[in-house]
Symmetry: C2
Subunit: 143 residues, 2 copies
DNA sequence: TTCAGCTCCATGCAAACGCATAGAGTTGAG
DNA sequence: CTCAACTCTATGCGTTTGCATGGAGCTGAA
């Protein structure tokens, strides 16, 4: 690997990091996180994408939290009536998580408002073509 | 804004978020964070880029931490001898931060190893052209 | 010059985090 | 069948975080 490519890779990572930080700050500043924090929303959103109940371990692959932190967040969200924990009939160690009706409702409501903020921020800075490129490239990075 | 563009914007953001989470996890797993955590490194790195001492407020623009959290992280890093706080002669409220020699040394050492990990991860998934596109697009998002 | 309003950083405090580890359940070699 | 090794989730504990706020210093209109 040439020094030039190494340099380019690091510049790209630094830019990604800056973009992420900037956008997270912008989105956090939006006044829609009264019911759930952005991190909690992330969990609800991930669950909303799956028809079948998710194991905590599977959820952990998508969420940037340690397993214990995620376990406790699930505690709180269950306590508040947003998600439901059920023992996994296939595996006595496991837990199956699903949204409650309330949880699904909250996710949809917050999600709708959040999505508008995301669209506003992204389209203000990028062309449709750039949006497509970004998604393609980031998808490669994620897998 | 058409629904299709809104959709595209949200897909791009979701991909960016996934890529970020995945890479952060990968980099965190690297065995180079004995002396400083990745978040602490981020502060040292930001300071290393600036010739003149930085104000905490300026640092705060680059780092994804609340102002109080950053203030305390600076405390700890100063306590450990990595950075130096000096009163700002121009502004009695302000503090000017700079790396100590030790801090600069640690930043360089960790930075070198980290950069190799970054290059490895990024070039394994993206072509040089994609790296360039990613940097261009993310730079637009960051400003 | 004064002082109300602002900016900057630090601190009190409760919530949330990560690391290490425990406990319960699964799996596969013998 | 047995049991050592492994997987999955939860818990103990010290650290770090964010929110609310405090105190000191700046600034500009009166």
């Amino acid at each position: 690997m040439t020094p030039a490519v190494t340099r380019r890779a690091n510049d790209a990572w630094e830019a990604l990091l800056s973009a992420h930080a900037r956008l997270i700050k912008d989105f956090t500043a939006e006044d829609i996180w009264r019911e759930v924090s952005m991190r909690e929303y992330d969990v609800l959103y991930t669950l909303s994408k799956c028809r079948e109940p998710l194991r905590i371990g599977e959820l952990h692959r998508d969420v940037l939290l340690s397993q214990p932190a995620l376990s406790r967040m699930v505690d709180r969200l269950a306590e508040r009536g947003f998600i439901e924990r059920q023992p996994d009939p296939m595996d006595g160690r496991g837990v199956r998580l699903s949204l409650t009706d309330t949880g699904r409702d909250v996710q949809r409501r917050i999600g709708h408002r959040h999505a508008r903020g995301v669209a506003r921020a992204m389209t203000a800075r990028l062309s449709p073509d750039e949006l497509r490129q970004l998604e393609t490239i980031c998808s490669k990075l994620a897998h």
